[in-house]
Assembly symmetry: C2
Homo-oligomer: 283 residues x 2
């Protein structure tokens, strides 16, 4: 079992932030750091998959993770080369893979049918139906609480610049892969890409993130085969519905001991009895 | 001058939230409300413009505001009909308008040129260059502070369900148009659509929002011709750069008296001297 942080944001990389001269509410000078946003185009076998707005670190992880989580690339496909040009903002991924019909994007709407959830998400719901998440995996509340404490202690863009989302792959009470980005989707895609490129097994892992638990993040987590997703933030009704259909354990508004368990309670061991003040319901 | 709230979220509309049975951190039952997310397709003159994930209120405002802010529709174009079918999740907008070349989406990347900001955003930067924001408009810190107090007192999905962004059109210390959505882009588009459909003039107005001040929100505000944008949240370096190029007054991390003034300080009158504790830098 891994027992230390494998990767986190490299704060030495000064392309990730810019120095800003501002004023405070009294008109007094204020020096700040602001997060970089830049465009990155991801190309698979010569075909543009997406142009995303990102902070720009771990471009290979973002590219591979995005392609995997959109199911444009399957885990068994052999990646033969990844070329990154951050000057031009492009990642070229080449892979040996069967010719799949990628005309249907995952969220492509089926106009002719009704508006039940299953038809709205068409292909993605079919994908989720194929996924079987580990039913035996457990999560101790005490481990989660300790993991959150360790995560808060990691030097981060969150502390330096703000305005980023964090996404962390954990095992027991240990953060393993810590990624940040302006888009919460990018942060989770970087986790997926790092896991794939470094052969990190999904067994016994869970994700702690800071963004809201909306449908997209839940779909990505399920496609990654990770059975537990925890967020510091809130959730949508559709996110909960998707988690319940997929058998994903979903926890919202978690800032340590207190949280709201929305789906998959059978995996949770409630062993963190000490009380703490309740968090803000509307966070 | 308008002196009261014209529109806010209708909390009587129970399609906007769902009742959720959950557990707390001790395994005890917890009853919650979760925000609805649904797909809405916006069609202009028979052509699909976008399918957005939204909470579903004010669909006509969202559709018209989106089309205006993407410059697919110009303010002078005459809207001849708007048909909404929330069952099928579609808004059909018909307008008398010249045949414009809409093949180039605003953020279409120019692959062949360098990565300077002006080329990255191609068409949008050209649009922004055409915009002249009112240089005479002022904002008193005391008015902003009072407006934020009034905004916090408005009954909202933010308080009932969390997980939504708020966007408010204000004049002096008065909130006028209050919109919420899961996407901060949708909330500002709804403001633009409401203003257009109800003939609300942009003169002397400013926007207070809760989402991060990233490039997209700044571009939308500039296209709306609103010269002041304030957010409760942080910002990106690119957002600040765009605001400075456009002459937009940009204020971040504003939760009442304290804030960070990032661009366009000539419009601000610093008249709110009483001190309050500093807010969290990383919000």
């Amino acid at each position: 079992m891994a027992n230390k942080l494998l990767v986190s944001t490299n704060l030495e990389d000064d392309s990730l932030y810019k120095h800003i001269n501002a004023l405070d509410q009294d008109g007094q000078p204020l020096e700040l750091w602001a997060i970089t946003e830049r465009l990155l185009t991801i190309v698979l076998n010569g075909r543009e998959a997406v142009t995303a707005m990102t902070i720009g670190d771990h471009p290979e992880c973002l590219a591979v993770g995005f392609l995997l989580n959109q199911r444009l690339l399957e885990p068994d496909d052999v990646i033969t080369s990844i070329k990154t040009d951050m000057e031009d903002g492009i990642v070229l991924v080449e892979a040996d893979m069967p010719d799949r019909n990628t005309d249907e994007t995952p969220k492509r709407r089926i106009h002719t049918s009704g508006c039940a959830l299953g038809t709205l998400f068409g292909g993605v719901m079919e994908s989720l139906d194929e996924i079987t998440l580990d039913q035996q995996q457990t999560l101790r509340s005490s481990d989660l609480r300790n993991a959150v404490r360790k995560i808060e202690a990691i030097p981060s863009l969150h502390k330096k610049t703000g305005s980023v989302h964090r996404c962390v792959l954990c095992e027991d009470d240990q953060p393993l892969i810590y990624m940040e980005d302006v888009g919460r989707h990018n942060a989770i895609d970087k986790i997926a890409g790092y896991m794939h490129l470094n052969g990190i097994d999904k067994a016994h892992k869970y994700i702690y993130a800071t963004g809201r638990l909306t449908s997209e993040v839940i779909i990505k987590t399920a496609i990654m085969g990770i059975p537990v997703l925890v967020s510091r933030s809130g959730f949508s009704a559709l996110g909960i519905e998707l988690a319940r259909q997929t058998g994903l354990t979903l926890i919202g508004r978690c800032r340590g001991r207190n949280y709201q368990l929305l789906s998959g309670s059978e995996r949770v061991i409630f062993d963190s009895p000490e009380s703490e003040p309740h968090q803000d319901k509307t966070a």
